[in-house]
Every structure is written in C-alpha cells, then in structure tokens.
C-alpha cells in the first residue's frame, strides 16, 4: 500500500458539491463515511443515537487478523473466493482506498495511524491482560508496542490501586508467550483527589507536562535496561502526540500504549478530532435523537425522520448511508419470537437458518467461529452496497448499507470489523457520488 499523503480537503471544485448525504450512525463506519463524503464535496448530515463503538473498542484497525503474511494479499485472495463477504462486495479498490483515505484523514487531524510493518504483515500488539493480538493498523501509541521486532526486555507500567490495569498480571502472561516483560506499579500523584479514575480522567492528567514529569521520575530508574516502556492507553487526551513523545524523552526509552477497559481513549481522541474536523468543514453532526424511519417514495428514500422533542423532524437527502450497526448497535433488531429485522427501512435481513431462537447460540460463549446469530444475521447487498430483496434486486436506489450490519461475516470473531467499516464506508461514498464510474 503506498504511503498516504494528507490531502487538502477542499469542496470548492468538486462535482459532488450540492449533493446532500445523510449518514446514520456514529461508529467507525458512519463517522468515516461522513468524512469521506465531506472530502468528496457533499453536504453531509451525520445523525446517530449516541456515539459508536470506537469509544469502547481497543482503537486499532483489524483488517484481517488471521493473515500470516501479507495482509492485503490475503484479503484480496479471500474476497475473490467469497464474493458474498463484505470485502468481496466492496471490492479491492475500496479496501485499499478506504485504508488510505482513513490514514490521510487521521493524519490531517493530527493523529497518525501506523502500519509499522514494512512487509505488509500484521503487527503483534498486546492486550490489557497480556494477550497478543495480530493487527494491521493502529494509532501511533499502540503501534509502538509491536512485539514482532522486540529485541530486549519491555517494562509495563501500571498505577498502584488502579483497578483497570494490572501490570504484573499482563507481564506474567507475556512471559508465558516468550516475551521478556517486567512490571512496575507507580504511585499516582494525589490519588485521593478523584472519585474514580476512568481512562479518560488519567488521559487528561497526562496532557499536563508536570504530571508527565512526576510519572517519568518514578519510571526512569527502572527503564535503564529495557527496550521500551508500555503504559495503559491514557497518554494524553487533547495533547496526545506531545504527551507520547515527551514521556518517551523523559524516560529515555520509547513508550507505547496498551488498550484499556472502556472508555477507549484512542477512540475518544479519534471521535473528538474528527467531529471538530467535520464541523469546521460544514457538516452537521447530530448526536442524540435517533432516526425513527426512512421516508420512501417509490424506490427512493427522500429523507429520514428523527424523533426530536415534541414532534418528529424530517431531514431530506439525495443519498442515505446506513451505518447503524449490527445486532448490538441497533442496526438489526430481534425479539423473543425469533424475528430479525432492520428497524428504519424494514430492509430484508438474512437470519440464521435454525429451527428456533435457542439455536442462535452455542453453549460455549467463546466458540471460535462465533454463534449462528452473529455469523448469519445481516443485510445482503450488491456491489454498490444497496440492500437486496430475496430475489437479489436492490430495494432502494439511494440507500447504502455499511459496516457491521452487513451479512456475510461475523464482526465479533472474524478479525476484520474495522477494515470492513472503512472499505464499505469508502465504497458507499464512491457509489453515491458516482466517483467510481
């Protein structure tokens, strides 16, 4: 994949100017669809009931976690053999384009996401418990923890009394997997000042140079003979890049971040910065009141109705991108009768081919390939990402489905949810604005 360079986000000369796009959903797919559409010159309204799951997930971008060597080649090969898979539907260009545009957009808002591996392989990043996860792309702080090329011991730093990260437990688990890891618990200055320390509270502390110095003074003596130093992903909120570099400088070793329990600070940073970028580029960002239905005339959606206070409000659009999520995001709903449906447009949903609802789940929670309801429920789409009816015909001409609501993959276990979010967000904008024709 060629290095992405930040592009100038100008709408002035683009043919899409004058096209109204509504994106429903503020997870990674919806947020990035909004960004891509603004970059392409459309007038964008992002409407969502609350923020999406990037605020609770680790913050890295899984493209194809199981890939043993070149990730993109693996995805290309898989997509060619599985046209029903969202990667197959979106196509190679969208997969590569989505990743490139994502890197450019995040770079433009001051957050760099790094591939790090020159050979196109997945990185090996550690989890909160000291597990090792293969991931292709990650924010700079997480990517700096890539264990592929670790040469010396690493030091994991936790905060004494903080219940969200136990450095000794994580280090012990890493050692079991052959990584020379040590643990250190440091004292937080003034711990009684807080009711409770959420990751975000700590991250805002790390925005302060004084706080970083206090931390570095405790860590530096233990870091002399280690290769790098890992902290929970709380190294700065608004001033993260500086916090990361500064702390590394003070300790005298590179530092990296480890994903935490929710809130996910890398996800908060991303959402905050992209929201500000969207607002400054004229997009509307309407978080709160949900879209309750799509308004359809013939085969076109003319707008969506939002359940605002007192009465509903109609928002008109030329195109609607549906990024409302899967079973746990509200994009697909079920009830005790075993019905499975899409609530806004009543779009046809694929459902597990089981006798009863009881068979939606296996007995073992962490079963490797996932439960039937996660693997099989979703919207079937064509290569333009238009939802299809049972006969394989598009239901609506100007509605596109993206992200976790798509059929053909298991977003919980397949290790490609973020890659699919980006590929399909990119593809939907390309299709809506006819940029790919």
């Amino acid at each position: 994949m060629p290095a992405a360079k930040p592009e100038r986000h100008s709408a002035a000369s683009h043919p899409a100017t004058g096209t109204d796009i509504i994106v429903i959903g503020a997870g990674l797919a919806g947020l990035m669809a909004a960004v891509f559409a603004v970059e392409a010159g459309a007038r964008v309204r992002l409407i969502a009931q609350g923020w999406g799951q990037q605020l609770v997930t680790p913050g890295w971008i899984s493209v194809c976690d199981r890939a043993e060597d070149d990730v993109i080649a693996e995805v290309r090969g898989y997509a060619a053999l599985h046209p029903e898979h969202p990667y197959g539907r979106a196509g190679d260009d969208a997969m590569v384009g989505g990743l490139e545009r994502f890197r450019a957009a995040t770079e433009a808002v001051g957050l760099s996401y790094e591939l790090r591996r020159k050979d196109g392989h997945n990185m090996r990043l550690m989890t909160l418990l000291g597990g090792i996860q293969r991931v292709m792309l990650a924010p700079r702080g997480l990517a700096a923890g890539d264990l592929t090329d670790v040469r010396g011991p690493i030091l994991l730093v936790g905060f004494a009394g903080w219940r969200d990260f136990f450095a000794d437990l994580a280090a012990a688990n890493l050692r079991r997997q052959g990584v020379d890891a040590r643990a250190l618990a440091i004292q937080l200055p003034d711990p009684d000042r807080y009711w409770d320390l959420w990751p975000g509270d700590l991250a805002r502390q790390f925005d302060s140079a004084l706080f970083r110095e206090t931390v570095a003074r405790q860590v530096a003596p233990h870091a002399r003979d280690v290769e790098r130093v890992g902290f929970p992903a709380v190294l700065g909120m608004d001033d993260h890049p500086r916090a990361l570099d500064d702390l590394g400088g003070l300790i005298g070793r590179p530092v990296f971040e480890i994903p935490t329990l929710p809130e996910s600070v890398p996800g908060v940073r991303l959402s905050n910065r992209l929201r500000r970028w969207l607002l400054r580029h004229g997009a509307r960002v309407q978080i709160g009141h949900p879209v309750v239905r799509g308004v359809v005339e013939g085969r076109r959606c003319v707008g969506v109705e939002v359940q605002s206070l007192g009465h509903s409000t109609l928002f008109r659009a030329d195109h609607v991108i549906l990024a409302t999520g899967g079973l746990y995001g509200g994009g697909i709903e079920t009830d005790e009768s075993g019905r499975v449906w899409e609530p806004l447009f009543g779009l046809p949903v694929m459902a597990p081919e089981t006798e009863s609802r009881a068979e939606w789940y296996y007995d073992d929670l962490l079963v490797e390939r996932g439960h039937p309801i996660h693997r099989q429920a979703g919207l079937r789409v064509n290569t333009r990402l238009q939802p299809l009816d049972a006969a394989g015909e598009p239901v609506l001409d100007n509605v596109y489905a993206i992200g976790q609501m798509l059929a053909g993959f298991n977003p919980l276990t397949d290790g490609c949810a973020e890659g699919i979010a980006l590929a399909t967000a990119y593809k939907a904008v390309q299709t809506a604005l006819e940029l790919d024709e």
């Binding site: 309204r45 409407i47 969502a48 009931q49 609350g50 923020w51 999406g52 799951q53 605020l55 609770v56 000042r193 807080y194 009711w195 409770d196 959420w198 975000g200 509270d201 805002r204 929710p262 809130e263 908060v268 905050n272 929201r275 500000r276 607002l279 400054r280 004229g282 509307r284 309407q286 978080i287 709160g288 009141h289 949900p290 939002v306 359940q307 605002s308 206070l309 007192g310 009465h311 409000t313 109609l314 928002f315 008109r316 995001g329 509200g330």
Partner: protein, 447 residues
C-alpha cells in the same frame, strides 16, 4: 414525582415500562461513553460523572428513602450524557429527578431559590432598571452578593431594559392594530420567555418583525417562566407550577393547530421535552402543546421547507462562529439556525466544537461552581480567539452572556442576522453585523 406503572396505565397514552425515565437505567451497559463526553466531569474531580450518579446509583435510590448522594449537585443537567448514550438511557433526566429528591430531603437554599425565580426578578427590576443595573455593575454589591448569598461576582449578568417586551407589544397593537387573519393557518404564537421580556426585548421585537415579514399574524398570549431554572435547581413543585400555567395558557392554541414559537431555545426544550420526561407532566394537554411548539429557527426552517419563507435577503459578508447550546442539542432537530442562515448570501457560519458553554442555565452563576463553569466554556473562547472572531451566534440567552464573558466579544441571537438580512430593524438596537443594503435583495436557492 416518579412514574409508576399504574400512572402509565391510567394516563391517556401508553409508554412501555422500559421507556419511563427512571427505568431507562436498565439499558445501561456501563460503556462509559457518557462519562467520556460529560463536559463537567472532565474539568472537576467533584463530580464523578453521569454514569456513576445516573444509572449506577439509580439502583440504590429507594423512592421512599432520602437521597444519599450529594455530588449530584455538581451535575449541571446540560444533558450531553443523554445525547451521547447509544442505548437510550435518559441519564440527565434520571439525575435531574434525583436532584429534586435531594431538594425534597434537604430543602432549597436561599441562593438557589433566588436563581430559580428569574421571572420574578425580571419583573421587579424593570421599573427600577437604572438603580438595579447600577447595582449589578457595582463591584461592591457583587462582592456582597457573592459573600452573602453565593452568586458569583464573575457570573455574567444581563441588565434590565427598563421596559418589557410585553408592554411594547401592547403599545404596538394599540397604535398599529393588526387585521385579523382569515384562517388559523396564518397565526403564530410567540413565546418570549423571561429574558426577552425584561432583559433583551430587542430579540422579541426582531422576532415578531420577522414573523410579520413572513406574513404571519403574531399573538403573544399571557405566559410565565418556562420553569427550567426551578427545575435545574431541583425545585420541582415550583417548576411544575410554572409548567402547568404555560400548558393551560397555550393548550387552546395547540388544539387549533397554531404553532407556538420561541426565541429562547432552552425554554422551548422545557416545553417540548422536560415537562414530560423530567417533571412527569405527560397528560394530553402537555403533549399537545409540545407537539405544536417550535424553536424559532426550527420553525423558520420548516417554513422554508414548505416553500413559505421569503428569501429576499440582503447579503451579509461575514464569517461567524456559531455555538449550538446543550439545550438546543436536546431538541434533536439538528442546527436549524445554520440551515436558515446559510440562505443569506455572503454569510458563512461554522459550528464551534463544544458541547456546553458551562453556564447551563443557573449553574455558572453559583460561586462554588463558577470556576468549573468557566473551564467548561473555555474551548469556546479558544476556538473563537483562534478564528479571530468578534461576534458569536447562539440561540440561548445565558449562553450568550457566558460567551461574552469568556471571549470579551459580542454574542447575538440568530434572529439578529435574519432580521438584518431582511432589512428589518428596531429603534433601540443596533446590530454588530450589518447587511450590504446597497444592492436589492435577491431570492436565493433552496438548500
């Protein structure tokens, strides 16, 4: 009063149990998204955040026992938690109801009672405006007010206009009687709110000028405070009295299908949403009034979508920042001010990235909370200063006063720009942004 299942059965509509405010706590999955977004928990360790005091402690609140949690007092009820929750938990509403329980148990402080009666001070101060305004601006008086009752001396205070909007309107009708419209379809009710009535009557005058320019017959029925200041101070009995009065006075218009339009976005939030979801007034009349109530810019945008808005605008060659107040966001109608003002040739608005200005109604007036309030609003000042802007556009009055205090600039209601573009003016107000009236206004395209 908390909802109970039997209330629901007896009322004229049916909410499923899980939709009732207190029970939405059961939707909480503890994802912490509300805590990460809370503008107040971010800047003070005194408030543990909306998840903790909301859905988490809700499980420990026995309706028959006194409220155990005092940190709740540091919640501003800005409502950002409710908006960002992906699961539909009414976090702010739960917290505001719990605050009322605190007041029920411990009583209302003199200071909070004072702040909850803005309507009363507006009326009492009007005939004494020169003296009252002198007192407000006198450092010694403000110092004494801070020490004695706890109203921050740094809090931005409006001045009394010395006359009321209602009085001006009565004189208008007497001097220039308006013909009765043929049908109710041409009627509109204007809800001015306390601030426009006594502190900033020019906003009401511009608003009715715009409505009449559009061709509507404006009525200004008797009305009182929306009740929001009492509600956010936990004085639910007081808030319900105000709310009931408004519902009674507006219900007949709503029944006739006449829209009720107001320029104070936060008052309109109260009428449209809080009466039901916070105060528990969810009878047929309250719902009918809510269904026919609009924020001013929401209403104007609706008229535009229906093809009823004249677009004979003079250009305004300006680029201005816009702040969407937290209570405007609570409407869920998007940013109609931005949509409407984008119709004016030459005018470019951009939205400041800030959830709340920090004033949150009366929160930022309290001495122990003033510093928190300023810290919450600081991102607004930063962005405005970075852009080099001197004028900020904002739909609610207390936010405008706060923004003026934080930025040292001017903050105006969107009606100021709309009226200026239409070439409408009032005698005692000179807008800080002027339209280019050399050229004849030209109709603009549809957004």
């Amino acid at each position: 009063m908390m909802h109970t299942a039997s209330d629901t059965v007896m009322s004229d509509h049916t909410l499923s149990l899980i939709e009732l405010t207190a029970f939405t706590a059961d939707h909480c999955v503890k994802c912490n998204i509300c805590t990460s977004a809370c503008p107040f928990a971010k800047v003070t360790p005194l408030f543990p955040g909306p998840k903790v005091v909301g859905p988490q402690w809700q499980r420990l609140r026995d309706p028959d026992a006194p409220s155990p949690d005092h940190s709740l007092d540091y919640c501003s009820s800005c409502g950002i938690c409710t908006l960002v929750c992906p699961h539909g938990v009414k976090v702010m509403e739960i917290n505001t109801q719990a605050k009322a329980k605190l007041v029920e148990t411990h009583g209302l402080s003199l200071r909070n009672w004072f702040l909850a009666r803005n309507e009363l001070w507006g009326r009492l101060g009007t005939p004494l405006a020169p003296l009252a305004n002198f007192a407000l601006r006198n450092r010694l008086v403000r110092w004494a007010a801070e020490k004695v009752i706890g109203v921050s001396r740094r809090a931005p205070m409006p001045g009394w206009a010395g006359y009321t909007f209602r009085g001006w309107w009565q004189r208008q009708l007497r001097d220039h009687p308006r013909p009765e419209p043929v049908s109710d379809a041409d009627r509109v009710v204007y809800f001015h709110g306390c601030s426009t009535n006594t502190y900033e009557p020019h906003i009401g005058k511009l608003a009715v000028a715009i409505l009449e320019h559009i061709g509507l017959h404006v009525e200004v029925p008797p009305q009182t405070c929306c009740g929001l200041p009492a509600q956010s101070n936990g004085d639910f009995p007081g808030a319900r009295r105000y709310a009931q009065t408004n519902i009674e006075r507006l219900a007949d218009y709503a029944r006739r299908g006449i829209p009720i339009v107001g320029t104070a976005a936060s008052c309109m939030t109260a009428i449209k949403g809080d009466y039901q979801h916070v105060l528990g007034l969810d009878g047929a009349e309250a719902r009918l009034v809510a269904a026919h109530t609009y924020d001013f810019m929401e209403f104007v945008w609706k008229l535009h979508q229906e093809g009823r808005l004249p677009t004979d605008f003079h250009p305004i060659h300006q680029e201005l920042p816009y702040h969407a107040p937290c209570q405007l966001k609570a409407h869920g109608f998007g940013r109609p001010a931005l949509d409407v003002l984008s119709l004016i040739p030459g005018l470019k608005l951009w939205e400041i990235d800030a959830d709340c200005c920090g004033i949150a109604g009366t929160y930022g007036f309290k001495v122990e909370k003033r510093e928190i309030s300023e810290a919450v609003g600081w991102p607004i000042a930063q962005q405005v200063q970075e852009a080099g802007a001197e004028v900020v556009v904002c739909d609610t009055e207390t936010c405008r006063w706060q923004i003026q205090a934080l930025t040292g600039g001017t903050a105006i209601h969107p009606v100021v720009l709309l009226a200026e573009a239409y070439g409408l003016s009032v005698d005692d107000y000179r807008p800080p942004v002027r339209a280019d009236k050399r050229r004849a206004p030209a109709p603009t395209g549809v957004w």
